[in-house]
């Protein structure tokens, strides 16, 4: 994607002067950036620099203290916005998987689309009369189950559909967490160190899945310490340290020709 192509379109996420404090600690000190549709952003930086906080502000898991996050034209930082509706379109994958441990794999994937779909059906049927609600509900359930199963097939875990998460390996859990997010048809996926909690031999299978998603055109923002993967997948790299994006650029610019002393110092430690 060339520079002129990206600037010609309106960004999917527009971040303006984003600020976040925890008590007296100013973690994000004003971040302004655009993320365009289809872009793969990799976020890198020293521990405690604010990478997770940045990512978690994007879907308001942490409410920003200042600035705006425009997602599809709506400012999510505005507390009057119904954040749940927008979160449906922003998938998030956590370092520690966070599969629902009281639900089977299939139930994990189905819970959100089914609950949210059902609520919509109910609203509609209040308007149009209750007739047909049952039929529609059944169709919804079937459709959601079918889609969940086909997602499971895509990652080759369909035989685990009725298992509980506690019986799965870390790599399997994380891949299921990813397709659980995909089941909501998100427009962007946020990953916070998706492979950091994995045994080394399982990192590959998770990165492969993320790579496939990237190839399919998904917009994504990935916080990671996997430098090789970052270099390979990123359209742009954000270097966050001390609460700001202190340097950003294409992987080639960033890894091969870093401009800032701070970046060079960091890269010399991790590469």
């Amino acid at each position: 994607m060339t520079e002129s192509e990206t600037t010609a379109r309106t960004p999917l996420i527009r971040i303006e002067d984003l600020q976040k404090r925890f008590g007296s600690l100013q973690v994000l000190k004003g971040i302004t950036e655009n993320v365009y549709e289809g872009e793969k952003i990799v976020v890198i930086g020293p521990s405690g620099g604010g990478k997770s906080t940045f990512l978690r502000c994007l879907n308001c898991m942490e409410d920003p203290d200042g600035g705006s996050i425009f997602f599809e034209g709506v400012d999510l930082a505005d507390l009057k916005v119904d954040i749940n509706v927008h979160r449906e379109h922003i998938g998030m994958v956590f370092q520690s998987f966070n599969l629902f441990s009281n639900k089977t794999v299939l139930e994990n994937i189905m819970l959100a689309p089914l609950t949210i779909g059902t609520r919509r059906l109910r609203k509609e049927s209040l308007r149009q009369g209750l007739r047909g609600y049952r039929k529609a509900k059944k169709e919804l359930t079937d459709r959601v189950r079918e889609e969940a199963m086909s997602l499971l097939k895509r990652i080759g875990l369909e035989e685990k559909a009725d298992e509980y998460p506690s019986k799965l390996s870390g790599g399997q859990k994380q891949r299921i967490a990813i397709i659980r997010a995909l089941a909501m048809h998100p427009k962007v996926m946020l990953f916070d160190e998706p492979t950091s909690a994995l045994d080394p031999e399982m990192v590959g299978e998770v990165l492969d899945l993320i790579r496939k998603l990237a190839d399919a055109g998904m917009t994504m923002i990935i916080v990671t310490h996997e430098m090789g993967f970052a270099r390979e997948i990123a359209d742009r790299v954000f270097f966050i340290s001390d609460g700001v994006i202190s340097e950003q650029g294409t992987p080639d610019e960033f890894f091969n020709h870093p401009r800032q002393e701070r970046t060079r110092d960091f890269l010399s430690k991790v590469l």
Binding site: N84, H86, H89, Y164
Partner: protein, 239 residues
Amino acid sequence: MPSLIADFAKKWEKFYHVFAESGGYREVLLGLRNTLLIAVLGLLIGILIGTLIAAVKVLPRYKRVTRFFQKVCDVYVAFFRGTPMVVQLLLGYYVLFPLLGISLPVLEVCIIVFGLNSGAYVSEIMRGGIQSVDPGQMEAGRALGLSFSVTMGKVVIPQAVKNILPTLGNEFITLIKETSIVNFIGATDLCVAFRYIGTNNYEFMVPYLVMAVIYIVLVLLITWGIRTMERRMKRSDRV
């Protein structure tokens, strides 16, 4: 020593006579039924109220209404934990319901007061249970677009309940034992039934012994039931 045994045998015979032949068993069955009814329904009401209070207490605090309801819950819990249950029972029967203009049978008053009381204790138990669930579970639900209450109801509370099942069992046992105070407002429970049998011929030793045995058997049965339930749940989800 032999005379003691002979004496006891005589007392047993007297008890047996009143219990089996003069219809004392009917009184005991009624008492047992009431004891169980008050404890079981009380616990159910307690779980409902307790879960609600616990959910309100873990709500994020930034809205004013939330903080108001949290204060109300605090006062409620402080009252029910800070006064003896007998006092609550008397207040319910002689003050609250008359003031509300409601006249209810004693048994129902007992069930409601036990439920309200248990709600306060269960709320603390449940709050501990909710806080013991990994916060990542709530985050994952919210990140998918589910609301706080849906995530609470479908993900967090089921896991919390599993964690606190043994403690809830203890609460049930406490309630069973506490029912022995309902005679203060004239309800019949196990205690009252056995005192009635004893009063029949002023022979209290055997009736009260049998009564204690029944309480112990009840408690052991409940303990066993809870263990079985726990084991079942573990099988479906080993951590």
